[in-house]
Each structure stands twice: as C-alpha cells, then as structure tokens.
C-alpha cells in the first residue's frame, strides 16, 4: 500500500459562469519515503493535487487516501486534527506570522499537542538546528532573508514529526543560492530523516533534487521519471 | 458631476463598511439632535409668556397662598385689565405612574386670560355651568382613555381626600409650549369643599400696555407689602423662566454628552476612511498614470467622506425631526412642544461637515501626494 493513493479523482472548479475541469479520472500513488516533484505548466493542477492530499480541498469525485485514511471523506472538524498530526505544509510565501519570532512560529504546530513546555522547546531547537537557523530563533520574519524565512517554514513543517511534508513552489521567490540551500535541506530530510516529501515546482533544479518526478498536463499524468514504487 | 460614479464605486467596494459607517454617523447625529432639543425645549418653555401678563405670588415662597380678597384690590390697580387666579392641586391618579398637572382655576377669568387654552364653546359653557366639572388637555384622552362626560377621581395630597370631577371639556393648546396634558377644575369647588378658607395659589394679571409691566408690578408689591401676605410680582416670562432652571445645569450635561458623541463618531468615521485609504494605494497610482491630477484625486477622496457624512446627516437629523413629530413626543409631560428646531438641524449639519473634513482630510492629502512610481512598485 502506498502512502498516498489517488483513485479516479475528478476535480472541477466553478469560476463565475465558467466550469473548469482540472482533473478527470486521475489515478496515482506516492510511496512512503519518496521524494516526489510534481511538475507541469500553469493550470495543470499540481497545486490542486497538493491541496487534495493535504485535505485542504475535496475532489468532486473519487478517493484520496493518505496513510490509510480516506481524507476525501472526512468531515471538516476531523480534518483539522488530522492535518495537525499528519501534514507539514510550506507555501510559496507568507508562511510565517509576522508578529511572532522564528521560535514562536515553529512552536505553533506543537501547541496542538499535549507536550510540555520543555518537550516543545527540545523539538523546536532540534527543528531549527536541522535547518541551520538556531542562532536566529529570536528574530522576526522581517529580520530574515527570503531563504531564511522558507527554512524556518520548513522547520515548522517538520517539528511535529508529520507523516508527509508538502511544499508548494518553495523556491519560487528565492534566488539561486537560497534555492540551492532549501533543496539541499529537503534532500537531507528525505535521505537522513526518511521523511516523505512532495513538492510542486517549476524549478528544474528542484526536479533534479527529487528522486521521482511526476509531470502533469491538463490534469493528466503524462510522464513519470525516477525511482519506481 | 462626472466623477460621481467613481466615488460611488469606491464606496460600493466595501458595502458593509460604508453602510456601517453611515449608520454610525446617522445614530450619532440623531443623538446629538435629541440632546440639543432637550435644551432648546426647556429654553422655549422658559421664554414663553405673554408680554401683557404678570404673575403675582406670595413673596415668602411659591408654596404659600394668597388671600382671595386680593382679587378686587388687584383689579383696582391702574393699568390692570383683568385678573384671574389658580391653585396647584398636585393630586395622584391611579398608580401615579404618569404625572400630569392639576390646577384649580377661576373658570371664566382664567379661560379669558388664556386664549391659548382653546376648546369648543359648548364645552366651555358646560365648564362654566357645572361646579364639579373639569377640562382636560387632549393628550390625556390618549394617555388615560378619558372621555367627555366621564367621572375621574383624584386623590388629594395637599388637600386630602378623594376628589371626583366630571370631564366637560377637552382643550387644545394653540401654542406647543403649553402642556396639553393638564387638568383644570373650578376654584370655587375647591373653596367650598375646604370650608371657604379664602385663599388662592397665585394671581395672573393682564395689563393694558407691556411697557408698563415693571411699573405695575412694583405698584402691586408695594401695595401688599405690609398686608397678611406680601406679594412678588413679575412678568409671566420671568415666572416660567424660574421653573426652567430647576432642572439644574441641563445644558451642561447635554452639551458634554453631545461632545462625547460627536467625538466618538469622528473616531469611527476617520478609522473607516483610513482603512479605505490604505487599501487604495495602487488604484490611486493607476488613476494618476492615466492623467488624473493630484487635485482631482484629493477631491475624489473628500467626496467620498462627504457622501458618508451627508447621508448620515440626512438620516440622523431628518430621522430625529420626523420621529419626534410623528410620535408627538413630550417626554412624559415634562418636555412640551418637543421639536427639533431649524437651528439644531443647521448645527447638526455643521457637525457633519466638520466630520467630513476631519475624517477625509488626511487620506485625501495622502492620495494627492502619492508618488506614482513608488506606488506602482509596491507589491500587494
């Protein structure tokens, strides 16, 4: 059983009077421990796919199973705690709450657990250490560079030890050096810490860092490269 | 006004904000108008009074009586055309929740003295004929559901016992300042029942020439200075004015609250304008790129502030004016003739104008001064 199982998923959006069909009958698997890049032109549905896996969106038809659970069938008030436990999400920008320090931003997912203050502190320091920003933990987002902000976001995404780490265009706003740092970090998360990582990206370098690349076009999987299931 | 649709479009972008802000302005101005009207109503009552009527009370205090025998003596004073008298009854009716004034008056002379108390001739004759009759103001018909011919019983407090009167007349005041909820009964009835003590409360005197008022008043007071009861005589207006001050410093209280209200609303409006201004940076830049001048942009923002202030003023001030008129409000009898004056409306409009300036100025200046290039570069 794959970690993520997408079966016969349709997804249609209504924009005003237009009906936009993003997926029709999409079926694919993502293995545990894999590092997958979702690529494709604008409108191919890659971000939508990510949102479906994270339970942020619901398919019009079909099933989305993550770690054995039928995410597409969960009720809204079940999704929040499920997401807290299983998903670490990084957006392209505006990840961090501007009024909290890096430390406090990373702490946020842990506030949803029953860990004590001391236990939380340990994990936060650990996560910030993994992304190499322990010395910046008291800084506010506006005091960090774009790349540093993304790394803090990644720290937050892993601090609660989620099942999946999902990233939507994480290097979209970054320069070459910062991008490289972030991708290196992601590889490390996958290799050393055995995290399952899925990124949506335009960036060819990101595709290189990943082990598996899925190409989507007009809502269909058209190519699969890299490691097998 | 070719830019009106732009202004309206901007206001319509955040309909909820516009509606709430306008509603706040309306409420504040409604309150402002109401508070000020309390002051103007009391002022009007204080200034009411015929220039040819004098009131004569016991110099020791208004609560002390004057002898009935004074009536003839007063008629003899040069310049005096007519004399009447009245006494405050102050009884309780029912559960006493609704206060209304009750007077014992000398029927014929009092009605002649006060043509403002107007009632049909046949009712007036009935009142003059029947000893235990009374006439009531027409508001009492609404308040208590009384009818012509009905008997009403009042419990006396100053003059103990139960007093029953038959309603023979319903009067309408020709001047709004006069209470339309009084009960007037006959002084001779009061006298009779008390065993003819020969006293009255105060005298009302009509003189031939208003210019002689001070002189005649002095003559009267000198005449009675060494009698059983010395008098204090003055114009009817002075008499009414002394009652108006009894509430204490009402205008200070209402004025202070009014100020707080206006200030609070200024904050709400300025806040709303500021929020809109912050969100609008990019648009202003685009307008300027198209070729709108700084001055035009300034004007657009001010117009927006004006629209809110104007609409709020119309709703609030207009609402106050019509509400009180339509419900015939008189503050439970304490504020007869409660009506929002034109003065108050103008003052309210001025407040709205100031509101517009205060809330719109900063955002308007900001928009006028915005450097285009900088604004276009700004990321959302």
């Amino acid at each position: 059983m794959a970690l993520v199982e997408i079966r016969e998923v349709d997804k249609t959006f209504q924009r005003g009077s237009e009906r936009i069909e993003v997926f029709i009958g999409l079926t694919l698997d993502i293995a545990e421990g894999s590092f997958t890049a979702l690529m494709g032109p604008s409108g191919s549905g890659k971000s939508t796919l990510l949102n479906l896996v994270a339970g942020l969106d619901r398919p019009t038809r079909g099933s989305v199973r993550v770690a054995g659970a039928e995410v597409s069938a969960m009720r809204p008030n079940q999704l929040a705690p499920w997401r807290a436990r299983h998903i670490g999400f990084v957006f392209q920008q505006l990840n961090l709450l501007p009024v909290l320090t890096a430390y406090q931003n990373v702490e946020l997912p842990l506030l949803l657990t029953r860990l004590s203050r001391k236990e939380r502190d340990e994990r936060i320091r650990l996560a910030l250490g993994v992304v190499g920003l322990e010395d910046r933990m008291s800084h506010y987002p506006r005091q960090l560079s774009g790349g540093q902000e993304q790394r803090v976001a990644i720290a937050r995404a892993i601090v609660a030890d989620p099942t999946l780490v999902l990233l939507d265009e994480p290097t979209g706003q970054l320069d070459a050096k910062s991008s490289a740092d972030v991708l290196q970090l992601l590889s490390r998360l996958n290799d050393e810490f055995k995290k399952t990582v899925i990124i949506v990206t335009h960036d060819a370098h990101a595709a290189e860092a990943a082990r598996t690349v899925l190409h989507l076009d007009k809502g269909r999987l058209i190519e699969r490269q890299g490691a097998a299931v | 006004m070719k830019f009106l649709h732009l202004v309206l479009a901007n206001l319509g972008r955040h309909k909820r904000r516009t509606i709430l802000t306008t509603a706040s302005v309306a409420l504040a101005l409604f309150l402002f108008a109401s508070l000020r009207t309390v002051v103007t109503t009391l002022d009007a009552a204080a200034r009411f009074g015929s220039v040819r009527r004098l009131v004569s009370t016991n110099a020791t205090g208004i609560v002390f009586p004057l002898p009935l025998s004074y009536a003839n003596k007063l008629r003899g004073v040069p310049g005096v055309e007519a004399v009447s008298w009245a006494n405050w009854f102050g009884g309780r009716y029912g559960d006493n929740k609704r206060f209304f004034a009750q007077f014992a008056v000398d029927p014929e002379s009092y009605l002649e003295m006060y043509p403002e108390i107007s009632l049909p001739e046949d009712q007036k004759q009935a009142f003059l004929r029947e000893r235990s009759s009374a006439i009531i103001g027409r508001r009492l018909v609404e308040v208590f559901g009384w009818r012509l011919g009905q008997d009403v019983t009042i419990q006396g407090t100053i003059f103990p016992g139960d007093w029953t009167f038959t309603i023979r007349g319903i009067y309408t005041p020709t001047d709004a300042v006069i209470n339309d909820d009084m009960l007037l009964f006959r002084h001779d009835y009061l006298e009779e029942r008390l065993g003819r003590p020969g006293i009255s409360g105060w005298y009302v005197i009509r003189i031939d020439d208003a210019n002689h008022a001070a002189q005649i008043a002095r003559t009267i007071d000198i005449q009675f200075r060494n009698s059983t009861a010395a008098t204090k005589t003055g114009t009817e207006q002075a008499f009414n004015a002394s009652f108006a001050t009894m509430w204490g410093n009402v205008s200070l209280l209402m004025g202070t609250i009014g100020l707080a209200v206006v200030f609070a609303i200024l904050l709400v409006t300025a806040n709303a304008m500021m929020m809109s201004s912050r969100e609008r940076t990019r648009e202003v830049a685009v307008l300027k790129t198209i070729g709108f001048s700084d001055r035009t942009v300034f004007g657009l923002v001010m117009l927006e502030a004006a629209a809110i202030a104007l609409t709020g003023a119309l709703l609030g001030l207009g609402g106050a004016k019509y509400l009180y008129k339509a419900t015939n409000f008189n503050g439970g009898g304490f504020l007869p003739g409660f009506d929002v004056t034109t003065d108050t409306l103008l003052l309210g409009a001025t407040v709205a104008l100031l509101l517009m300036l205060a809330s719109g100025l900063v955002p308007a200046v900001r928009a006028a001064r915005l450097p285009v290039v900088q604004a276009l570069r700004r990321v959302e």
């Binding site: 009024v99 506030l111 | 609560v63 407090t157 410093n249 500021m274």
Partner: protein, 388 residues
Amino acid sequence: MKIPLIYNARSVLQRPVSTAFTALGIGLVVAVFIGMLALANGFRAALARTGSNLNALVLRRGADSELSSGIDRATASILAASPHVASGADGRPLVSPEVYVLIPLSRRGADTGTVANVVVRGIGEAAWKVRANIAVVAGEPPHSGRAEVCVGRKMASTFPNTDVGQTLHFGGRDWTVVCQFTAGGSAFESEIWGENEQFMPVFRGEVFQSVSFRLKDPAAFDEAKRALESDQRLTVDVHLESTFYAEQSQVLGRILEILAFLITSIMAVGAIFGAVNTMYAAVATRAPEIAVLLTLGFHPRSVLLSFLVESALIALVGGVIGILLALPINGIVTSTTNWASFSEIAFSFRVTPGLLLAGLGFALVMGTLGGFFPAWRAARLPVVQALR
C-alpha cells in the same frame, strides 16, 4: 485557547492608529455610561442616606411629601406619648415634630431672577438626637427664642450669605446663621434648620408638617405603623424613614437611569459598528496568516475564539480608558430640583466599584458583539482561495 495570546496582542499593536481609534470610541461610550449612572447614583444615595431605618416618619394621611402634610400640636403630643417611641438617655421621648416649607433663594453668582426652592425645616431639641448622622461642623446650634438658623453644608457652598455670622433674609425677616452642619451626604445638607417656634408664626401658623421619631423596636415597625394608623384620634400615615426618602428619589432617579441607558445604547451601536469595521479589515489583511493557522491544523473554532479575544482585548483597553475619563467626576457636587418634594437638593456624583466593573463589562460586550461576525468570517476562511 490554543492560538497564543501573544499573537493577538502583537497583531493589535501592528495597527496602532486603528486600534487606538476603536478603543477610544468604546472608551467614550463607557465614560458616558459611568458618568450618567454616577449622577443617578449620587442623587439616589443622597436621598437614601437621608432616612434611617431606625426612625419612623409620620405625615398627615394622604400626603405624599412633607410639603403637603399638616400635623397639629395635639397629634404631635399623642405621638410623643406612644409606647412605640424610643426614649433617650435623659428619659425623654426621641420625637421630633418639624415644620417644613420651601423658600426662594438665589444661588451664588446667578442673577436674582432665577431662584431655587430651598427647604427650611423647623426643629426642636430632640431633632439632633433623633437623626444620628448629623454633626455640627462650624459654630453652635441655634439658641431657643432667637432668630437663628443652622445651614446644611452643601447648601452653604451653593448659596450666598451662609457663613457663620452672616444674615439670610426670608419670610420677610432676617435670620443670623450661627452654624453649619453635615448629615452624611444626605438631602438634609441642602436645608436650612431653625427653631419650630421661630418659623411657625412666619409661615403656616401652629401646625407641623411632619413628626419623626426613633422606633423603640425597629424590627416591630409594622406593628407600630398599624397601631398608629388605626388610632381613632389620629389621621396619619406612618412611613419607615429610609423607605420614604428612597421612594422620593424614584421618579428622578429612574428618569436619569433610563436616559443613561438610552443614550449609551445608541452610542454603543455606533462604537460596535466601528469595532466591526476594524476587525473585518484586520481579518482581510491577515488572510494569509489565517490560512497558515488553518493549514497547520488549528481548529476553525480556535481561530474564531482568537479573533473574538482580540476584539475583546481592544474593547478592554477602551473600557479602561473610559474608566479613567469618568473617574474625575466622582465627588463633583451638582444640584437639581427633586420633583417629588419640589425642593432643591445638592448631591455629588457617585462612582462606585460596581459601576466601574459594569463599565468594563459593557466594554467587553461591545467588543465581543463587534468582533463576532469578523471572527466567524476568519474561522470559515476558505484556505485554498486565500492562497491564490
């Protein structure tokens, strides 16, 4: 609440002007609320303190105020001999028959046209004992047989010629002021006191307006009332002093309170609208942050609660501002005519801790109401759309 409070506190500080304006608006409403109720409070308190629940007040049957009552000497004597009346240390009954009239006096600084009706009360020796809260603070009590008066402290500050040694003129005679007294802040402090026998010939002749006496057994008031009211020789109504004076404050007290609620309610709606605007703008600006929180797995109701708390926080600040604005009013003396007795009464604004607490509560209610719909919108933010 799971979302840290520090997030709300700091976010509020991010938009200082907006927050300040909203808080100030709420603060003004709270200030008016506290101020007006302090006015009503002060008025009621002055009257409430006037009567004691150890004393009974006897008026002629049917009279609703001391002014409209009349009690002759015979009745006064019968009352003095009643077994329900307590006796003083000297064995004499603690009974005080009193004359009560109103005289016109001009206030300090006002033109002579406008006058206030001031209470002139005739007393006997026993009055000082029957009323336990009276204290002479300047001069000495009036001597019997002389045209001397004692003036209540509040009255002294409002009217001229009321210092010890000065002369007042009323009732066609001159009266020397020989003392000033306090009475626990009650209505008595607005009165002029003098000997019964001096006032009677000047005003209403040989008749008192009221008789006050100390109850032998305060717990047995009802019995005393029944006994005296059913006595064939008398036509009187017996009131518990404290209840009687408290009731005299009803009409005006209630008017002031209703006015307070009406005015502040209308103001509150305006302030709430202001808070609604502010909070909606905040939610709109912080949509990305809300999206992050929801994505992380914070429950929508945590988000709802968080924004409600933020709104309440702003309101609380406003409440404190309101309290600070209203506090200086406490103790300011003002006066009005109590229509129930037609007499002038001076009293001070009275701000109580309870009132301050009510003001804070009011602020919280405004903040919560104003913040509710915006918080609801925040909680239901469609994450996917917010990120587009």
